[in-house]
């Protein structure tokens, strides 16, 4: 069973989508990494911790029937690859919608939800999931 510190140390990225920007090439990456995979050595000293906006579009998605046991109450649940506006791609659940209303390209925004909990007495883990952005009348 996972321990609290393993989740805790990732909180900035899980809560607020903290990633990095490589100031050598301008690319964003999520989660943070020590070196830019494009610029390699040129990126040393040029990696900047950056909060990503958490907005993007669905790149691909699936409705999971046989899913994680932790998510059994939410079955079927939707998982997607989300292409963020900054360019980085992330994996996450899409919530508060029906799979039939989604298409590749649907705009989404990050929100905070429970990811899992370590049983009824263990730590609860929170992190980002995505909700479709509703078109708002101007």
């Amino acid at each position: 069973m996972a321990t609290a510190p393993r989740y805790w140390r990732e909180n900035p990225s899980r809560y607020n989508m903290v990633g990095i920007k490589c100031n050598s090439c301008g690319r964003h990456f999520f989660p943070p990494r020590a070196i830019c995979p494009v610029c390699h050595r040129k990126s040393v000293g040029k990696i900047e911790i950056t909060k990503l906006k958490g907005e993007g579009k669905i790149f691909s998605f699936t409705e999971v029937q046989e899913g994680l046991e932790e998510l059994s109450l939410q079955r079927p649940y939707i998982v997607a690859l989300v292409e963020l506006t900054e360019g980085a791609r992330v994996t996450g659940q899409i919530i508060d919608c029906e799979a039939c209303d989604l298409t590749i390209g649907t705009p989404v925004r990050a929100t905070l939800r429970k990811l899992s909990e370590e049983g009824p007495s263990g730590v609860i883990h929170y992190g980002y999931k995505f909700v479709p952005i509703k078109e708002k009348a101007p």
């Binding site: 109450l73 939410q74 929100t111």
Partner: protein
């Protein structure tokens, strides 16, 4: 120094269940229950939602509407009777999630259904005294009703957050008054899953006595009458109690309509008056005056006299969803799914 609301944000889960659906399971006439309680449906949190996620979403909606840096927040309080942990704070997670941590003071409140308004009062004191520049007060709950109990027809989920400060105030809090006694009308013991209540004892000696005393006490101090207020919002364990109390205090339906959410979402406990107030601020204009009275079983009431300022005209209300907008994209549940969502089905395994 004038103290008031600088920004606000609300959140309500999308799932709903009707009293008819609940009544069907327990052999209760849900239709008359619905009519008697004046509750058409109540909100239900998704299995991945709790008081923390609701508080975070409300607080983020609050931050989206204003230009205040989260680093300027000096205090944050979350009032709830359904904190996910018995020990381990809700507020710390909210503070991290809106990037207000670590240079602030945080605490969780529990005071039945008025923990959220107690948080507002605390922030008023801290801002008024100059101890902090901004304080965040949140009232949120994912309240529980035992299967088959009368509470199950109303206990729901939602919350709202308020940024309290002294600059760029969209609504001044002119005064606040509390009325507190020891009245055992509703309780939940440590380790118990569901609360218990005193049945009809929750009415006259509890809700009505305290809400009336709170409202009257405040209006005496402000030398005001019901006619002076554009809006009024009262704690709403159902739709009936606040409508009745409003009538007794001389308020017309038009004054309480905007803040009366119980018919659509049920009883959001600590979120009730905060959400009602948020719904009023969604449509209020400069100069509008609001009376808000929260009630917490146990018992006590917090009354507020609030005046909307000119700032509301340039305030970016549209940057976050209104309560009305939050009441869309609904999905109605059958009782089985509701029971599953609320952990009322005993699961196998370890």
């Amino acid at each position: 120094m004038k103290v008031g609301i600088v920004s606000y944000g609300a959140y309500i889960p999308r799932y709903r269940i009707t009293p008819e659906e609940i009544g069907k399971v327990w052999g209760v006439d849900g239709k008359s229950m619905s009519k008697g309680l004046m509750i058409n449906c109540k909100s239900v949190p998704s299995p991945d939602e709790d008081t923390i996620t609701i508080s975070v979403e409300a607080a983020r909606n609050m931050m989206r509407r204003c230009g205040v840096s989260p680093k300027e927040i000096g205090a944050l309080y979350v009032g709830s009777e359904s904190h996910p942990y018995a020990v381990k704070p809700t507020g710390t997670i909210v503070a991290e999630a809106i990037e207000a941590a670590p240079h602030l003071t945080v605490a969780d409140y529990e005071f039945a259904c008025k923990a959220g308004t107690a948080a507002i009062q605390t922030c008023m004191g801290l801002v008024g005294s100059g101890m902090v520049k901004y304080g965040v007060a949140i009232g949120a709950d994912t309240s529980q009703g035992a299967p088959g109990d009368a509470l199950e027809f109303s206990a729901s989920a939602g919350g709202a957050a308020f940024l309290i400060g002294s600059e760029k105030i969209i609504a001044t809090i002119d005064n606040t008054y509390s009325f507190t006694t020891d009245t055992p009308d509703f309780w939940r013991r440590e380790g118990q899953m569901y609360p218990r209540h005193g049945g009809r004892f929750t009415g006259e000696p509890a809700y009505f006595k305290h809400v009336l005393a709170g409202a009257k006490g405040l209006m005496e101090r402000m030398k005001s009458t019901s006619k002076d207020y554009t809006y009024a919002v009262f704690h709403q364990p159902n739709g009936k109690f606040p409508s009745r109390v409003a009538k007794q205090l001389g308020f017309a339906d038009a004054q309480i309509k905007s803040g009366l959410l119980a018919p659509m979402i049920g009883n959001t406990y600590s979120g009730a008056v905060p959400l009602g107030l948020a719904a009023i601020l969604d449509e209020a204009k400069a100069g509008d005056r609001i009376l808000a009275v929260a009630y917490g079983s146990g018992a006590g009431s917090d009354a507020f006299d609030i005046t909307v300022t000119q700032e509301i005209e340039s305030y970016a209300r549209g940057k976050a969803p209104t309560v009305k907008e939050l009441n869309t994209n609904l999905k109605f549940l059958d009782y089985a799914t509701y029971a599953k969502f609320r952990g009322k089905i005993l699961l196998g395994g370890e």
